[in-house]
Symmetry: C2
Subunit: 572 residues, 2 copies
């Protein structure tokens, strides 16, 4: 018999298309099987829907569609791959008249029919997760005997059900311990069907949790994770098989669809190809790949082939340009240089050189004439040209309006280039440089932007760059861009350091306030200057209204701005 | 003895200020009491925090602050109002190491000390509510004996605990029936501490639920609701006392802070003043008052005295101008007319006349010079001026940029003027007319805008207009504005009806799709033209990316765009 890990990239809400992909993956998996050899295909959490389907789960017509698709899948399997048993994630109606009225459930689809075999017990409703909005918790563990006659005892879990070790995960949900329940029941193999978004350090953490469970259960763990970008979340896949002794026997690729079929029990060691992948890639490489996938899938799933961005000559837009080129192909990315009288000479030359290195189309559109035209128009109302922050914001909005005009006219996705440090303290202009369909690096602190760009320009990135179609050799971002002092260039000789602490000082303070919800008092107790702590807290709070109107931010940290950050605006 | 209903308007997250207000309200309530007469003051749900505090509840320092404030409140009461027992809503740590780790709880604060007396059992996590993100459910009903010696048996409930009648409320949460539990326990009086946002029809619904509970329990119900605007939510107060026979004995004001102290048991009928308020105001008047409160509190709680808006001569911006004048005072509201070559003559004359009727400052700033400047700049890149939708969006963004420049320079809150029908189908420009800190009428379908404006111009609105400082007599919006065919005026002779079905046809379809999550197939079964149903569904779906970046929308319907509408963008 065989077990297949189907690391799929669904389109959220496209139940028909996702069901077709499940059938196709079954056909792929069965190629390596002997005729009639039983094969169990394990798919990600809610694989019929894509995760997170959010309020699409409230549509009765989509709920009703599931049964028809499962019936269809049953008869298709019968015809095309009758030896396959398929574990599919669905939203099962509870039948109760109270709300919520769904289970996050698993269905076993076989040639003979389909049936619900498990209901998720631990429903995350923290950070970006809202499962209690849609689902009620299942109340019992489930062991599936497969194949029915004399087969394996399979313990079934869905994503959070595995996250029961607070010492590893940092927290644990109130509720039962599904692993302990399955230990009591006795199983031969634990299956976990997940939709676990990418985050720095998450890949190692998932393996640690699986290793702990494997040791507790004395059984191997098959962990299948969704892959693909869905709005702000990037699912990195990286599914795996871990042996009871903690040995990693199979590791699927990060950030790519893959269907792997394993003979069971797995014989000897992993294949040579698999072993090469067992070491997790460098953390910065993981981050880069996740961001590339996030851009590629957001564009594709929204129907865009091309992207547009403004290049300032600074490091943020340079990084986004590289990510866009890797995601969509250099020939699909257009850049626009929008210099003002306050732009440095380097803003043109550095940006132009970057675009040449990447092979991106570039045009230059000076904004001075529009600045004068706005000053003239506004003077009639204000009695003079706008000044101070209003003038700085105006420049940014002229650029944002030009970029949107081009994106609209040319059918391109505009990418926003701001980083998390800026979004946190409000060092960005609403309706200006915040414009775009996606805030690509909006969850990267400025210091992380520096680190990722240094990695990109180093030897370690060559193979990854080559694989992603970027120029493999030489500097990509370039030392001139990486080493210049950050500046918004919205007034003469402006530097970020005029208004903000150095990013090396600012970023750890932001991280404590945002990701650990610390108070300024706690920061001061940890040695942060009291005036700095209060000031940064004040900036963070008062920029809430801007963030509320920001584009989706690709999440890579423990807490990103977006659906996992739900702060009131009118508050103290 | 006395029972006081404290319908308070807290500032979310300002625990210190809210505690001070609780003390002050206790002092107000005690004025009517005899010396030493026991007085129980009932406050809204989570009254120490303000509702919804959202992710502020995740800050350990604020959780820790509560105990200090409750100690302080205890000693302050001892000194200033020792006869008062105060029921306060807090977020009580569960003490567990699992998450979530708070109860939504009630504390009884008295001169002798404070203690937790109840934990909310039904935690809403639908629509705009996220209580399962923060709270675990209490597991038991609570009856409070007050005063301790031979007093009343008070049944304690918090907001959703009362919403157990699915036939009235349309749905019911999974969980116990707290009213049935209290019936078993036997009580003399039911208290409900609420934070129930305004919605059309909600006032009547709350009374019906309370009437049902009073009948089941054979006991009166004291219902105390929060008042005030908090971001997108407007709490309308309208607290009341209902007798076991369903008679409404006391009705507090809608949309205003009020502390009312009742001798207990309540003697005879309600006071004359109270009786006058027993009939709920006209639904359109309620809607108007709620929107005014929403604007006033958003501005005040964000630190703005002044507002700015663009007047197009159309009905949407006219209504927002009236709301802003009522909320902030006409002298605090500035309007800007931004005509283009495609603007009708009426766009100037009607807008100017409206501003005169309201007494608003008005300036005119034609945008033709900026349109030409942008066309000229963009031609260098596009090879010609932008066309079609790109050109229309550009005009809207020029206006949005001008408005933001003025708002920034003058320290004003920019109000967005789009309606729900537009936001639903994407008939609006991101970074253009969607700009603003608050989308005032973003939850009003166009047909509701017509109805509200007709009401405002009619006799029935005179008293309300007068009370809110608006000109009491004559037309306010004016027939010219109310009766002109809707137009965005972004190209010559454009009408909304060129691109969209009539609003009388469109709005019911939108309502079914948005508020009932119906599918196009269901609409067709109900007699809607199939092409129309599909087309509107497609428009709704493809405008999701715009709504994600919209300002907070004041919620007045069953489902508003904003935190109660969580749709994926990259989806099918």
């Amino acid at each position: 018999m065989r077990i297949a890990l189907a690391q799929l990239n669904p389109l959220v809400g496209d139940l028909v298309g996702n069901a077709a992909r499940l059938l196709q993956a079954s056909a792929e998996a069965v190629i390596e099987a002997a005729s009639g050899e039983p094969l169990l295909m394990v798919t990600p959490e809610l694989s019929l829907w894509g995760y997170p389907a959010r309020d699409l789960l409230l549509r009765p017509s989509l709920i009703a569609l599931q049964n028809r698709l499962l019936d269809q899948l049953t008869s298709d399997l019968q015809r095309q791959a009758p030896q396959v048993s398929l574990l599919v994630g669905i939203a099962e109606p509870t039948g109760s008249r109270t709300v919520p009225n769904l289970y996050n459930a698993l269905v076993l689809v076989e040639a003979g029919g389909w049936r619900v075999v498990y209901r998720k017990q631990l429903l995350p409703s923290y950070d970006v997760f809202d499962e209690r909005r849609y689902f009620v918790a299942g109340l019992a563990p489930a062991v599936l005997q497969w194949p029915p006659a004399g087969g394996l005892r399979l313990g079934l879990t869905i994503c959070e059900d595995l996250w029961v070790d607070a010492d590893l995960a940092g927290q644990r949900l109130a509720g039962p311990d599904p692993i302990a329940e399955l230990k009591d029941a006795g199983i031969d193999l634990l299956l976990n069907l997940s939709a676990s978004p990418f985050g720095l350090g998450k890949l190692v953490l998932r393996r640690q949790l699986a290793t702990r469970a494997a040791a507790r259960l004395g059984a191997p763990v098959v962990y299948v994770n969704q892959v693909g970008g869905n709005d702000e979340l990037v699912f990195d896949g990286a599914s795996f098989l871990i042996q009871p002794d903690g040995a990693l026997a199979t590791q699927l690729t990060c950030c790519r669809e893959e269907v792997v079929s394993l003979a069971w029990p797995p014989h000897g060691n992993a294949t040579a190809q698999a072993v090469a992948r067992l070491e997790p890639p460098d953390e910065l490489e993981q981050l880069f790949r996740a961001l590339v996938l996030g851009v590629a899938d957001y564009a594709r799933k929204c129907g865009f082939n091309q992207a547009l961005l403004g290049l300032s000559g600074g490091i943020d837009s340079a990084l986004v340009a590289v990510l866009a080129a890797a995601a969509l192909g250099a020939d699909q990315v257009t850049t626009l240089l929008l210099p003002s009288p306050w732009s440095s000479e380097g803003s043109i030359s550095d940006a132009t050189a970057l675009a040449q290195r990447l092979g991106l189309a570039t045009q230059i559109l000076p904004i001075a004439p529009l600045m004068q035209a706005f000053d003239h128009s506004l003077a009639a109302v204000l009695g003079g040209a706008p000044s101070g922050l209003a003038a700085e914001n105006l420049q940014s909005r002229i650029r944002g309006t030009l970029l949107m005009a081009l994106a609209n006219q040319q059918g391109q996705l505009l990418l926003a280039t701001g980083n998390k440090s800026e979004l946190a303290v409000g060092y960005c202009t609403l309706y200006g440089d915040m414009n775009g369909g996606l805030a690509v690096i909006g969850d990267l602190y400025k210091t992380t932007v520096f680190a990722l760009c240094a990695w990109l320009d180093g030897q370690a990135a060559c193979a990854c760059r080559s694989e992603l179609g970027l120029p493999p050799d030489g500097e990509l971002i370039g030392a001139a861009i990486r080493h210049k002092p950050p500046s918004a260039e919205l007034r003469p000789d402006q530097k970020d350091s005029d208004s903000l602490p150095d990013y090396a000082v600012l970023d750890p303070v932001l991280k404590a306030l945002i990701e650990a919800h610390q108070s300024p008092e706690q920061l001061v107790a940890d040695g942060v200057d009291p005036a700095l702590a209060e000031r940064v807290m004040g900036l963070l709070r008062s920029a809430e209204f801007k963030r509320r109107q920001a584009p989706p931010v690709l999440k890579v940290s423990r807490r990103a701005f977006g659906s996992g950050w739900r702060m009131p605006i009118a508050a103290r």
